[in-house]
Assembly symmetry: C2
Homo-oligomer: 367 residues x 2
């Protein structure tokens, strides 16, 4: 909607993977969630920038390839991956679906582009979680290594913390290989967790609000905390809460993708941009929701629980993220008012909150 | 056969992937090539160490899992991958089969082990080609990186030169992830090209000789050169011939795998061993075959052709490979006599040589 609104001819191709997976796990999105065809109808009625929706699967190469051939896109924004780390750790079936979907969809997209629109720019959603938490500075995609008196620039070595994140490391490898061999052009956006419940476009109709999950599988930590604050449930901090990540506002995600799209890399280039604006630890987020929620009279409490993940809870974290700022990103930073506004939105849907979705159902230790 | 001969209870599970793919490409092995069931029958008649053969596909998780549950192996040697770089570059279908087979089979194996024999040692065949040709020393799997005053040990960053090699980088990532999360134990043998036409076991019956391909897709450079020398065709050097690789004798491959098997790593460890004994450039191999072949009166010539691959033809190459020597490897090095003996073996099958299989049919430049 944001890109259509700005004048880009926009087509969406989707197979409802997450919607179906969330339904199978009884994880219901908090905000109204009409399907894509319905949302397109609503959007096309309230805006003057219509969006075409095609329902189909990137794993179906003939279908995807034909669509790319027909449309001749200048840019393809590749979000067609199973996006949840906990989902990928549930068991064999979910892990297998994650591996095959994420690599198969990326592979098919590469070949559709290579065969029909070799100059097309692929903007792929990566994740900051690919890097893991090494004990040195995290650079923006590449690392100059000095070793025994010689130097070489490598793709920054990655240590992902879930099977999902491992598939994202692999799809970067796949895109980079085909970039250097066949000259496709790729931007890999290493995104941190996104927060935000509205944009100028979603506010045109309440049925256009973004997807909002707060459950243990598809939710994010800040969504969970806001829902817990509203529902009177203590904020569940996993382990000691020292885990630090780079976050960004939904408005900035949209800016970043458009900046990447409007400034494509060279043919044969894999450009990597670290996409976040601010770093918070889990404890800092919990304290922020605690303070702002209590100022709103919500009676928020914090409670540490055993960490279902295997991850460092106290780690070095110094990450470069200058590329998108250089392209022109104007960050929307977190503030008490931004958080309070999100909590007020969540509170409007308080009756729909299902506390049974919140606690972790799987563990990295005993899948 | 070598492992059975040494007293290991040995079961082979195979789906004839390479055999079928080679047949589809009209790439015929030079030496007699009865199928596995027939070979097992021949072997079981001439030896006192019978081998059981099961024909099936590692992509069939139920079948593989049931077999692992039934057998409770101490060690699984994982060779179940599409092994050819040129095959993986032929086109969409071959690339797709390579990606899905190599990752799917590794993934299924991991889960079968995790569910039924968590202490089982997986010995996976990797390849030296995963490293590519960086401008610094290649270490044995891991690299201590110093950066801005801090240090971190990373999996050695890899820059593979074909889709096949890219899938091998990915399966290392997959095994490493599950090693650190679920505690499986893995040895990754980063093998260089193997040469050799016989072992004590294969020499017990001419129908037990190893697989010998010399074609553009499944052959190796030294096999091609020996066949060209015997057939009176100039040795085809790809490009300027400065490409350097680590090679080893078939006898040493078998030693290495058994040394790994008899000395398993700890639970949760990914142990990486660089498996080769000597480095040769393509030109050095061509000159060796030229000299020895001409001493045998074969009238050998050398002819450079355009390189179908995208690779460095003049690169730094200093690779550590002490791990297997420390485990006890006693190398069988290349010599004029070793080469002459191989050429004499190839010459026995001179009438079966098909010159139409030798020249490259695909290019990295225009798949």
């Amino acid at each position: 909607m944001a890109f259509a609104h700005k004048g880009h001819d926009t087509i969406v191709f989707d197979n409802y993977f997450r919607r179906d997976a969330a339904r199978a796990l009884h994880a219901n999105a908090l905000l109204p969630n009409p399907d894509l065809k319905e949302r397109a109808k609503i959007w096309n009625a309230v805006s003057d920038a219509p969006i075409r929706v095609e329902i189909g699967d990137c794993m179906d190469f003939k279908r995807l390839s034909k669509l790319v051939e027909e449309l001749e896109p200048d840019c393809i924004i590749h979000y067609a991956e199973q996006p949840s780390a906990p989902y990928s750790m549930l068991g064999y079936e979910e892990a297998s679906r994650t591996l095959h979907n994420n690599l198969g969809s990326t592979f098919n997209l590469i070949w559709a582009v290579k065969e029909h629109v070799p100059d097309c720019h692929i903007v792929k959603l990566g994740t900051m979680g690919e890097y893991g938490t090494p004990n040195i500075d995290i650079e923006e995609g590449w690392l100059d290594v000095k070793h025994n008196g010689r130097t070489h620039k490598f793709l920054y070595p990655r240590t992902p913390g879930s099977l999902y994140h491992t598939t994202k490391v692999m799809d970067t490898d796949l895109l980079w290989f085909y970039a250097r061999i066949y000259g496709i052009r790729v931007t890999d956006l290493m995104q941190g967790p996104v927060y935000g419940l509205s944009t100028p476009e979603t506010d045109m109709d309440a049925r256009l609000l973004p997807n909002f999950h707060y459950d243990d599988v598809f939710g994010t930590v800040l969504n969970r905390f806001m829902v817990q604050a509203v529902a009177g449930i203590p904020l569940t901090v996993y382990g000691s809460g020292g885990q630090r990540k780079g976050f960004l506002n939904l408005l900035d995600t949209l800016q970043c993708v458009e900046l990447a799209m409007n400034n494509p890399p060279e043919a044969g280039e894999l450009r990597i941009l670290n996409q976040f604006t601010e770093v918070f630890s889990v404890n800092e987020l919990a304290e922020l929701v605690y303070r702002v929620g209590n100022e709103m009279g919500l009676g928020v409490e914090i409670k540490a629980i055993e960490n279902p993940r295997k991850e460092s809870e106290d780690h070095y974290f110094n990450v470069k993220h200058s590329g998108l700022l250089e392209l022109g990103l104007k960050p929307h930073l977190m503030s008490d008012e931004v958080l309070a506004e999100m909590i007020r939105r969540v509170a409007q849907y308080k009756d729909k909150i299902d506390p049974g979705q919140i606690m972790p159902r799987m563990s990295w230790r005993n899948a």
